[in-house]
Amino acid sequence: MAGSLLHTPLHDWHAAHGGRLVDFAGWEMPVQYTSIVAEHQATRTAAGVFDISHMGRLLFRGAGAPAFLDRIVTRRVSDMRPGQIRYALVTNDSGGILDDVLVYARAGKSPGGPPMWMLVVNASNRLKIVDWLLEQNLERAANCEFHDATTSEAMIAVQGPRAADLLAPLFDDAHQALRYYHCAELHFPERAAKAGVDTQSALVSRTGYTGEDGWEIIVAAGLAVEVWQRVLEAGQSLKPDQSLGALPAAGVLPAGLGARDTLRLEAAMPLYGHELSETIDPYQAGLGFAVDLEGRAFPGRDALLTLRDRPDAPVRVGWLLAGRRVPRDGFPVVAASATVGHVTSGTFSPTLDAPIAMGYSQRTFATPGCEVAIDIRGRQEPARVVALPFYRRSTQGSKK
């Protein structure tokens, strides 16, 4: 089967630099290079550099694009200004979550020109979402030209308290001016100076999936290795901030999907296929902020009107465990000798030095401080409901 897996433009770099490659949603991706904990700590104390090229990037050009997207996603997008990014959901007719996405209103290449719209979707859902768009009459949408750019580009996440420094050699300080959830096309001044002219640019956004400040960079596949290496080189001269993080700091490291998962879980960010699915609605998942129903029409909108006020639906919660054994997806949560919930993601938190989990719980047992047990392979381990997120970065040097 290995032959049929998709490769990102950085695949050969990963293979040559100790990346442990695994099948992830049909892509051969590095789960780690050194250790998950080391890469996690690097991201919390200095910076981690992640290949996230497997994320789906779906482009929509033309004057009809915002109108089309407005009738697909749970938030209005047509009022977004160029350079804005919005988190939203794609729901099915019954209000279940088909995917969680970022909607980008990319400033047009020509100054003042119309924006280009982009959905960044989960790798595991890319083909499903493309099918869904077709089902929603994408091909008949007026003035809306669709293109799946996923395999012709790379996407690199640079995350952590020192992430800004790693991008300085590439973009001077242009990336610093980006506010949280904003993006811009940035040119490469150093490249331009060397070559006299450089028509290449990157789409840079102040976004991430780690709970740290950081940027995500989308570049043409042919530039991927150069950008990746420049970022890592800039990291070699940086000293980690020893005051951050619970473990000895590791400096800047390339980081794999293993650390990406422990980081997002500490930050309580949901992951599709775990916290999110077609049978979970946005309100249970704690994502009501990403749903706008007033004066809207999109699949699931009417169902969501009813689901919004459902008092008995299980809700997403976090648990902190007292022991060392780690809860995993699917494990039952028990209280008063009954099953009151289940785990959807669990890991050992390097920052808290304890097992943590997210999942769904009956509301009676969903209040922070509530004592429950998680059934870990037949043995009940004490756990306590805690407020999410498990980890919140210190505010110094954070988003502006």
Binding site: S35, I36, G258, T262, R324, R325, V326, R328, F348, P350
Partner: protein
């Protein structure tokens, strides 16, 4: 690696990555059991070990403990038939020694072999290396 770490090429191995070292004691054969450096490397980020219970009768291939990493949990399988007579409590306090010294201080349990210990099913070093090379690919 401590000076008294066992030489990995003198040990016997189970396909499930446990090693054994035979100590001939006055009364009976005793096997010291651990997991291989290859297994430790594959697991990485160890966070918890559930040691076998002392006094438990075990059969070759039977799960008798577990080892948890950040990413996943793995069962520990007894590589031989016999009775668990001692476990390495040091590991519950400092799992780092299993990572740093899997053939020495990182041993897991001692098993007194029954008459049919099941030793003939184990791999020698060369055969185990071959298996690891295949798995590593």
């Amino acid at each position: 690696v401590t000076p008294n770490a066992r030489a990995s090429d003198k040990l016997l191995y189970a396909k499930t990555h446990e090693w054994i070292c035979l100590d001939r004691q006055p009364q009976a054969k005793v096997a010291t059991v651990g997991i291989s450096a290859f297994a430790v490397e594959a697991l990485t980020d160890l966070v918890y070990i559930e040691l076998p219970k002392v006094g438990r009768q075990v059969k070759r291939g039977e799960g008798f403990g577990e080892i948890e990493s950040v990413k996943a949990v793995s069962d520990l399988y007894s590589p031989v038939n016999g009775e668990v007579i001692e476990v390495n409590e040091l590991l519950t306090k400092n799992l780092g020694v299993l990572h740093d010294d899997p053939y020495g201080q990182g041993w897991i349990a001692k098993i007194r072999l029954s008459d049919d210990g099941g030793l003939d099913q184990l791999l020698d070093y060369a055969a185990y290396q071959k298996q690891c090379a295949e798995e590593g690919h």
